[in-house]
Amino acid sequence: MELFINQVLAGIATGAIYACMALAVVMIYQAIDHLNFAQGEMAMFSTFIAWQLMQWGVPYWWAFLLTLVFSFAGGIAIERLLFKPLAKAPVLTNVAGFIALFAIVNSVAGLTWDFTIKQFPTPFGSSPFLGSQLISTHQAGMIGVTLGLLILLYLFFQFTRIGLAMRAAAALPESARLVGINTSWMIALGWGMAAAIGAIAGILIAPVVFLEPNMMGGVLIYGFAAAVLGGLSSPLGAVVGGFLVGVFENLVGTYIPGVGNELKLPIALALIITVLVLKPAGLFGRPIVKRV
């Protein structure tokens, strides 16, 4: 029983990271209807920025904040320079754009900071959380930050004008323009927010997986799995999906013989396919009611 609870809690903790990545994926998917394959690399790059700032002596939380600002601006810049010109291009052109971005960011990070793994600090410490052996303070911190982020996003989208405008632009671009919304900038804003959310995910997971240019590869696939499971149209779904994937992955790795650590990743992929076949809209993807 102890083992079970332990695995569930650990699953929830890593699930928090998947949830963050899934949130970032959903943000961009909502804005432009494409999956951003480079989301993980962007997050990794942001994490390196944070690391670099700390190397230069900037205190943790300042580095964290500056990294978010940098990532937000960087996300907007990427949209303006690379994806705005591709807005009317076919899907495959966009996919090629994402892959190019993936390769560029990965190489630039490798070139700048090389491929050796680096330690990354955690602000939460790694002592047992509340004296329990089951979960560390860092893991508890990851869960807390993710839930806080979800609440902030919810408040932003439900109760601010700009949040409402972003939702409108995502749902019906033409109608949004007809009420005076600059949909093009709403998309850029979505990119900026996604990049900042991704940066948070990267910074949170770096103490666990260590910092290096390929650190997000696996994480992004779990993030996709989480987003698809929860429904690509729902931020709440993305977070729930993230936690579910984290727990599922851990339990399968522990209890199904022969799976172990090696086969965890294929499980995520199998999950994506199963969900897409059985429930294409995902668990929380709201079926849209339409009457003519």
Partner: protein, 237 residues
């Protein structure tokens, strides 16, 4: 009266296909004008050209300033509300959110709140359903919502694309009555594109008839309605 909207030599294109061939007309401030014509005559294209939603050449002036080269959203911000064909309802959002979206460019919070209440007075059914997903409303209710959403902009000019489409005749009458009231009381200049010529002519004070991308007839609504030849050859009733 000076013309609020002045259109000269308007040509519009869908790819290689030309849909408007040198359209000319004007709208006086405070008028209620209808643009009539058969399917494919270019009525919708005309409205879309005003809001720069289709490639066009020629001159469109609003209050003496040219609209060419402006983006759709910046044209809307000048006070031109457009209720598109198919209504453009944000179906996944609530009725109230739809109304708020209509006023998204406005900064006066108190004014927006009181305008929402005003819309609920105009359209009581919207008040009953203000927390419902807009997609669950009936066609007529959605059309009311679309008009209300456009009014939330506090527009000076409102463009309506076939508001009667798919609605029962009784509901169309209600809707047109409200449009007339808005025109008189709120001093909103209105341009209605319609296939239902008979009803539109009862409502409007001025009418233009469009055929294959050109204005072929213009006059007061009463004149056009009273001319049997025009009615038979262009309006089909």
């Amino acid at each position: 009266m000076t013309a609020m909207l002045n259109i000269k030599d308007l040509r519009a294109y869908y790819g290689q296909v030309q849909a408007l061939h040198g359209l000319e007309f004007g709208l006086n401030e405070g008028s209620l004008t209808t643009l009539l014509g058969a399917n494919g005559a270019g009525k919708t294209t005309t409205l879309r050209a005003i809001c720069n939603m289709v490639r066009s050449t020629g001159s469109i002036e609003f209050d003496g300033a040219s609209l060419s080269g402006r983006s759709t959203e910046s044209i809307v911000r000048l006070g031109i509300a457009h209720v598109p064909q198919g209504r453009g309802t944000f179906t996944t959002m609530t009725v109230e959110e739809n109304l708020q979206l209509g006023a998204i460019t406005r900064k006066d919070k108190a004014g927006v709140t009181s305008d929402i209440e005003r819309m609920y007075d105009h359209f009581p059914v919207l008040k009953e359903r203000h927390t419902q997903q807009a997609g669950t409303l009936s066609g007529g209710e959605q059309q009311m919502l679309a008009v209300a959403r456009a009014l939330m902009l506090r527009p000076r000019l409102m463009l309506l694309d076939e508001p009667s489409f798919g609605l029962a005749p009784l509901i169309v009458r209600d809707l047109f009555k409200i449009l007339g009231k808005i025109n008189r009381e709120d001093k909103v200049t209105i341009l209605v594109v319609e296939q239902n010529a008979q009803l539109a002519l009862e409502l409007a004070d001025k009418a233009y008839v469009i055929e294959t991308g050109r204005i072929v007839m213009s006059g007061s609504a009463a004149e056009i309605a009273g001319n049997e030849d025009i009615r038979k050859s262009y309006l089909g009733y």
